[in-house]
């Protein structure tokens, strides 16, 4: 047992840091560090830069063009990227659909879809939730009927994050109503440019357009876009959710946020003293700092466990999202009353107009509101507790 990084790991960290110093564009760094509005072009540009370096997919094996890094290297890479102010890479392609294609897809599908995910050319979104199927995902009703060499898809997906930018959507669709609800689900890849698909925005409580409804009206999907076997989609869906959950711990980003929160606490004034001298605020910061340390080490402990993460990944999802939400809450509170003004135009890079309070206060309340999603999506934290109770504790 040794919690220190090896010299090789430290050298790897230095290499990543140097690369980021040299290659992360200043405007992207500024946008991320000031927590301005995310931008599709920015995400694509950054993915291209990483791709050109050969680092497009830090979690993929080499045979598919990934880096082949071990879990510790992946964590170091993510952490350094977050600390440097690099944007988060798009999970939907890289961390969600790609592992499913690699594991359950056929060779043609691998060759067709993985390169576009790696280069960032193809933007993917997730078609899981429906208006009537949230936590009870298996009750989904969007149907796919086989007609010759096509499926015809009808129905509606919702909460589709960044679907407005997407070229492709991976969908859970119902191909059978026989047996238990889980048994008639299939995993289908659908081109967003297919006739009959309509994307409608859902405006979130922070006023931003991040999520969407996606409607399918007699959408013809080639049968070759079916992953694995028909009616086996639930197995692939659960596999994907396991991958998603581990990523949701988000330690690198939270460490960068914690660093910023401490800086803000030193800078912000609380009357005649810096905010950090306010004992109540500082104690809560210390508590969160300790919890983040515990999360960081627990992630390392789970990911280096030879038995693999399994259902224990639910712990990481719960703790990761709880800690993230508290970070955003404290960042808002650090601004005090400066946080109350809603200035959407100030979330653009070229904004030079008036603002209320410091530059950190500008996005803070909006971010706080937005981040309430963390404990809801990816399987709500209550669903995660069900998973722990049933799969880990056997209740």
């Amino acid at each position: 047992m040794d919690l220190n990084y090896t010299p090789e790991q430290e050298a790897f960290r230095a290499e990543v840091r140097q690369f980021l110093d040299d290659n992360l564009p200043d405007d992207i760094r500024e946008r991320v560090q000031k927590r301005l509005r995310p931008d599709k072009a920015m995400t694509e540009r950054w993915q291209k830069i990483l791709f050109d370096k050969g680092w497009g997919a830090s979690t993929w094996p080499e045979e598919f063009g990934g880096t082949g890094w071990d879990p510790i290297q992946q964590i170091i890479f993510e952490e350094e990227c977050a600390l440097a102010g690099a944007p988060r890479q798009l999970d939907f392609g890289l961390r969600m659909v790609a592992p499913v294609i690699m594991t359950f897809g056929n060779d043609v599908q691998k060759q067709r879809f993985l390169p576009g995910i790696l280069s960032g050319e193809d933007w993917w979104c997730q078609g899981y939730s429906e208006p009537g199927a949230g936590s009870d995902l298996a009750s989904l009703r969007t149907s796919a009927k086989r007609e010759g060499d096509h499926y015809v898809v009808n129905g509606q997906k919702t909460w589709t994050t960044l679907g407005q930018h997407a070229d492709w959507i991976f969908c859970l669709v119902r191909t059978s109503t026989e047996g238990k609800p889980q048994q008639g689900i299939s995993f289908l890849l659908i081109d967003m440019n297919t006739p009959g698909i309509e994307v409608r925005p859902i405006i979130m409580l922070d006023g931003e357009h991040e999520i969407n409804e996606v409607y399918f009206d007699n959408v013809k999907v080639p049968a070759e876009n079916l992953i694995g076997e028909e009616n086996q989609g639930w197995t692939y869906a659960k596999f994907l959710l396991g991958h998603e959950r581990t990523g949701l711990a988000n330690v690198g980003q939270w460490k960068a946020m914690m660093k910023r929160l401490k800086e803000v606490a030193y800078q912000e004034q609380d009357g005649q003293r810096p905010l950090i001298e306010n004992t109540r605020f500082r104690d809560r910061l210390a508590q969160l700092d300790a919890e983040l340390r515990a999360l960081e080490l627990t992630v390392l402990r789970v990911l280096t466990d030879k038995r693999g993460p399994g259902p224990q990944a639910s712990i990481l999802k719960i703790r990761g999202t709880e800690i993230g939400q508290q970070l955003f809450e404290m960042l808002m509170e650090a601004g005090g009353q400066d946080a109350i003004a809603h200035i959407p135009e100030a979330l653009e890079l070229d904004y030079n107009g008036p603002r209320a309070g410091s530059i950190d206060a500008t996005p803070s309340a909006g971010d706080y509101f937005n981040m309430r999603k963390l404990s809801i999506f990816g399987g709500s934290n209550e669903i995660q507790r069900n998973i722990i109770a049933q799969l880990v504790l056997g209740l």
Binding site: M1, K262, Q287, L300, T304, R319, L395
Partner: protein, 382 residues
């Protein structure tokens, strides 16, 4: 970066697990406690034979050259079985202190005796009113020719009544709260001027209130340098905290196992109560808290041997904060889920709860250590 036990540690873990399951059952433990002796001689001899009592001592002193990770493995199992013998007091605290701060003669005299199980020592440091403040010492040691004369009052001395020898901290200079001016002395338990009041603790261990009145100690019983004992005391306490964190993790795992078993079998409203979602989520939270505490116990053990004080203290305080909070949550909820049975003396869960509660109080509760972490943030601004 790896979290694996070595092959030896895995073997140690397996054999200790067998020991607490097969040879340290609920009734046996009850008998040891009610004897009032605070220690079962056969068990202690067994520990000596297994090499546990000198595990972290250098091989030159009949030890095995182990570290705080080894102690973690031992203590986690002791927590699982609620072992009441003075391992923390004698081996971790006193033994660790002699190992790290004693001179050659003291190490050669004392460590083999601890390792063989013949000698029991206790650390008499804490004083009334000091609460968790390690530098607050009113007990004085005055020069008297070649000797020292020690007078003062010590409280909550773990297994002080069972020890043959005490390690007593005393002020040789400075003010009551100064870190400098403290010295450590080896004092014979039966020395003239010592009064020891031995008490049971709520969790089946023993504690002593000790008063010293002009106790004469010769200069060769001084541990380390006069006036400069504070770092050694702090280090020993940190080793003790790391050990307690591991013990708490073992006790929490045992609590979760006992509670899980109970809610799977106890029926109400015609169904096992473990089928109720409100209890399932409570149990899931107990599990999450325990896993987080386990991580922090590993962190504490990894840093406990370090001489980088700031780093060590931050890790220890972060760990004791989260472990203390988890111990409170898991302890209380474990009892709650046992219903009425949980508040009876016949249930193991009740005994786990008591130990978990007292562990939080030893060497700084969660609030105290959170304040340490918090003040550490302040220090970083300067």
């Amino acid at each position: 970066m790896n979290f694996d036990l070595t092959e030896e540690q895995q073997m140690l873990n397996d054999s200790l697990r067998r020991f607490v399951t097969n040879e340290y059952g609920f009734e046996k433990r009850g008998e040891i406690i009610s004897s009032g002796a605070g220690i079962d001689k056969a068990t202690w001899a067994n520990f000596a034979e297994m090499g546990l009592l000198g595990f972290t001592f250098p091989e030159d002193y009949d030890g095995l050259g182990g570290n705080a990770i080894d102690t973690m493995v031992v203590m986690e199992n002791f927590g699982r079985g609620l072992v009441v013998e003075p391992y923390l007091a004698t081996v971790v605290l006193a033994g660790g202190l002699i190992r790290d701060a004693g001179n050659e003669a003291q190490k050669a005299d004392i460590l083999p005796g601890i390792a063989s199980g013949e000698r029991l020592l206790a650390l008499a440091h804490n004083e009334p009113g000091a609460r968790y403040n390690l530098s607050q010492v009113k007990t004085t040691a005055c020069k008297d020719g070649a000797d020292f004369l020690i007078s003062g009052q010590k409280t909550a001395v773990l297994h002080g009544g069972q020890a043959n020898q005490l390690i007593v901290s005393a002020r040789t200079s400075g003010n009551v709260n100064d870190e400098s001016g403290l010295s450590l002395f080896l004092v014979d338990r039966n020395a003239k001027g010592i009064t020891v009041d031995d008490f049971a603790t709520h969790d089946g261990h023993r504690t002593a209130e000790i008063s010293l009145s002009n106790v004469t100690v010769s200069a060769d019983n001084l541990i380390g340098t006069v006036d400069e004992a504070f770092p050694a005391i702090e280090k020993a306490v940190d080793l003790g905290i790391a050990a307690l964190c591991a013990e708490a993790v073992g006790a929490m795992e045992a609590m979760n196992a006992a509670t899980l078993e109970y809610i799977k079998t106890r029926k109400q409203f015609g169904t096992p109560i473990g089928k109720f979602q409100v209890l399932q989520h409570r149990m899931a939270d107990m599990f999450i808290q325990t896993e987080q505490a386990k991580t922090m116990a590993i962190l504490a053990a990894s840093e406990a041997d370090s001489d980088d004080r700031a780093r060590r203290r931050e890790a220890i305080s972060m760990a004791k904060t989260l472990v203390g909070q988890a111990a409170r949550y898991v302890g209380q909820q474990g009892v709650q889920l046992h219903g009425g049975m949980g508040v009876t003396d016949e249930m193991f869960a009740a005994h786990l709860f008591k130990r978990l509660t007292l562990i939080n109080l030893l060497f700084g509760d969660a609030d105290h250590h959170l304040a340490q972490v918090s003040d550490g943030l302040l220090a970083k601004t300067a």
